[in-house]
C-alpha cells in the first residue's frame, strides 16, 4: 500500500532517554540549604533504550505496551519536547499536533481564542482561520459554546475540539496519546472513522498510542511493542499483539 519512495516524516536514530532522578527533590531555597549535607542518592531511570524508527508519510503507526513502558515519553521525543540522550537523533519533518485527553488548551480563554492560537501555530493565516472557523465548530458540535472558556468544557468537548482543529487546520501528523478512550458518542465515532479512512488519501500520518487493541488492529499498518523502554518488535498488528499477550502472561 505504501510506496517505497514515500517521504520519511518521523525519524528516530539511536534514541535513548535517561532521567536522572534524586530520591528527594528540593526545589526551594530553604529545602536546598537545610539538606545540603544530607545524602540524596541519584537514580537513573532508563525510559527508552536504543530506539530506531522511521515513520513514512501516510502511515498509521501504533504503539502499545504496558503502563510505564515509555510510550508517552516516546511521543514527547517525537514532538521535540524532550530531547533524546546524547548521540541520539529525533526528527519530525511536518506540522504535528499531539492529541491527548483534553490537553492542549489554555483553560482560561474561550474556545474561539484557542482555535485561533492553535490554527495559527499550525501555519494558517488569520483569514483562512476565519473562513474555516464555522467548520471547526460544527465538526466539534460546539455551536453553543464558542465564547465559553475552556475550563467549563467536559473532557469529551475538549477532545472533539482538539480533534476538529487538528483535522481542519491541516496538521500533517497526528500524535494521539491515549486519545480515544470511552468518550465520544456513536455519531462522533462515525466522524472520526471517516476521517481515519480518508487519512490515507490525504497523506496524513497518524501515530496512535493506545491500550485499546481493537482500535490498533483495525487501523494500524505497523505497530511497535515497547517493554520497559525496549522496542520488542515492529510489525503488522496481529503478530505484535500476540507477542504483547505473551509478555503479559510471562509477567503475571
Amino acid at each position: 500500500m505504501l510506496n517505497a519512495d514515500t517521504k520519511i516524516v518521523i525519524k528516530l536514530e539511536n534514541v535513548n532517554k535517561t532521567f536522572h532522578i534524586r530520591e528527594k527533590r528540593y526545589l526551594t531555597v530553604r529545602d536546598r540549604v537545610y539538606n545540603i549535607f544530607k545524602p540524596n542518592p541519584k537514580r537513573k531511570i532508563y525510559a527508552l533504550k536504543n530506539i530506531n524508527l522511521e515513520i513514512k508519510k501516510g502511515e498509521f503507526f501504533g504503539i502499545i505496551g504496558k503502563n510505564g513502558s515509555g510510550k508517552s515519553v516516546l511521543i514527547h521525543i517525537m514532538t521535540g519536547a524532550y530531547p533524546p540522550d546524547k548521540k541520539g537523533k529525533a526528527e519530525i519533518n511536518e506540522k504535528f499536533m499531539r492529541l491527548s485527553l483534553g490537553l492542549g488548551f489554555n483553560p482560561e480563554i474561550s474556545a474561539r481564542q484557542n482555535i485561533y492560537i492553535n490554527a495559527s501555530i499550525l501555519g494558517l493565516p488569520l483569514k483562512v482561520i476565519a473562513g474555516k472557523f464555522d467548520e471547526i465548530i460544527q465538526f466539534a458540535e460546539l455551536e453553543d459554546f464558542v465564547d465559553t472558556p475552556i475550563k467549563y468544557f467536559s473532557t469529551g468537548m475538549k477532545i472533539r475540539l482538539s480533534f476538529s482543529i487538528a483535522v481542519h487546520a491541516e496538521a500533517d501528523i497526528f500524535l494521539m496519546d491515549e486519545f480515544f478512550g470511552a468518550v465520544g458518542d456513536e455519531k462522533f465515532k462515525e466522524k472520526t472513522n471517516k476521517v481515519f479512512k480518508s487519512t490515507f488519501i490525504e497523506g496524513k500520518t497518524v501515530v496512535l498510542v493506545s491500550h485499546d487493541l481493537n482500535t490498533i488492529k483495525k487501523y494500524c499498518n505497523r505497530v511497535l511493542l515497547l517493554h520497559y523502554g525496549v522496542p520488542v518488535m515492529i510489525d503488522k498488528p496481529e503478530p505484535v499483539i500476540q507477542k504483547y499477550h505473551e509478555l503479559l502472561e510471562v509477567n503475571t
Binding site: L27, T79, G80, P83, L103, E108, N118, L126
Partner: protein, 264 residues
C-alpha cells in the same frame, strides 16, 4: 550574503509567524485585563495610583527641586512597571505555555517574544497617556523624539533577556517568585525613579549606573522630559550589555528549558 539576508527575512516574513506572535500576545493581554470588571481601565488606574502615592510622599516629606516632578516620576514608572510585569510573567512562561510547548510545533523564542510584547502593550498605552498629560505641563518635543523607539527596543531586549534567565532558574528554584519580589523592591529604590537623581553626590554618581536600567531611564528622560539629545555613549553601552545578556540568555534557554517540561 544575499542568501543569508533572504534566510533571515524568511524567518519572520513569507509566513504567518508575526501573526502568530501577535495573536499570542493579544490573547495574553486580553486575558489580563478583560477578565475583571473594570477591564482595560486597570491599565490606567494602576500607574496613576502609583504616581499619586509616590508624588505625594516625596513632595510632602522632601522639598524637591525637580521641575515637573509628577512627570519625572511617571516617565520612570512607565519603564519600571513594564520591567516588573514582564519579568514576573516571564518567570512562569514555560509553565503557563506548557499547553503549547508539549502539543504543537512552536518555537520557544516566539513564546518569550509574545509574552514580552503583551507586557509591552502596556508601555505604549502609558506613553500615550504621558503625551496627553504633558500637554498640561511646560514640555516641548522635537526631533529628539526619534530616539525613543531605539531606546524602547533596547529596553525590550534587556527585559526579554532577563526573562530568559528567570524562567530557566525557576525550573530549579521554585520560590524564585518571592526572591524576585524582594530584588524588585531593592531595584525600585536604587534607581532614581521616585527620588531626585541629584540626591547622590557628584563623586558617587557613577554608582547609579550599577543598576542595569539607569542608563535607559536617563536617556528616556532626556527625550521625554528635557527634549535633549540622548547620551550616545550610554545608549551604546546599554545596547552592548543588553545584547550580551540576550545571547547568553538564549543559550541558557536552549540548554535547560526542556527540563521544565520533563520535571512534572
Amino acid at each position: 550574503m544575499a542568501q543569508i539576508l533572504k534566510k533571515t527575512y524568511n524567518l519572520f516574513f513569507n509566513n504567518n509567524r508575526l501573526q502568530r506572535i501577535w495573536i499570542l500576545a493579544k490573547t495574553d493581554f486580553k486575558q489580563r485585563y478583560y477578565g475583571s470588571s473594570l477591564g482595560l481601565l486597570w491599565a490606567l488606574i494602576n500607574p496613576l495610583c502609583q504616581l499619586v502615592i509616590y508624588y505625594s510622599v516625596f513632595t510632602l516629606i522632601f522639598q524637591g527641586s525637580v521641575p515637573n516632578f509628577a512627570l519625572y516620576i511617571f516617565s520612570g514608572l512607565i519603564l519600571w512597571m513594564f520591567f516588573t510585569e514582564a519579568t514576573k510573567k516571564g518567570i512562569h512562561v514555560l509553565n503557563s505555555k506548557r499547553y503549547l510547548l508539549e502539543n504543537i510545533p512552536i518555537n520557544k523564542f516566539d513564546i518569550y517574544l509574545s509574552s514580552g510584547i503583551s507586557a509591552f502593550l502596556g508601555v505604549l498605552f502609558n506613553i500615550l497617556i504621558f503625551f496627553i498629560v504633558s500637554i498640561f505641563f511646560d514640555i516641548k518635543y522635537s526631533y529628539n523624539l526619534l530616539f525613543l523607539p531605539l531606546i524602547l527596543i533596547n529596553l525590550f531586549i534587556f527585559v526579554l533577556s532577563v526573562t530568559f534567565f528567570l524562567s530557566t532558574i525557576y525550573i530549579y528554584i521554585r520560590d524564585l517568585d518571592h526572591i524576585w519580589d524582594i530584588l524588585l523592591l531593592a531595584g525600585l529604590w536604587t534607581i532614581p525613579i521616585i527620588w531626585d537623581q541629584a540626591f547622590v553626590i557628584n563623586k558617587l554618581q557613577f554608582l547609579l549606573y550599577l543598576h542595569p536600567l539607569t542608563g535607559i531611564l536617563i536617556n528616556i528622560r532626556e527625550i521625554l522630559l528635557y527634549d535633549t539629545f540622548p547620551d550616545l555613549f550610554i545608549l551604546f553601552y546599554d545596547f552592548v550589555y543588553s545584547l550580551l545578556l540576550f545571547f547568553t540568555g538564549l543559550f541558557f534557554v536552549n540548554k535547560f528549558s526542556h527540563k521544565a517540561l520533563e520535571m512534572v
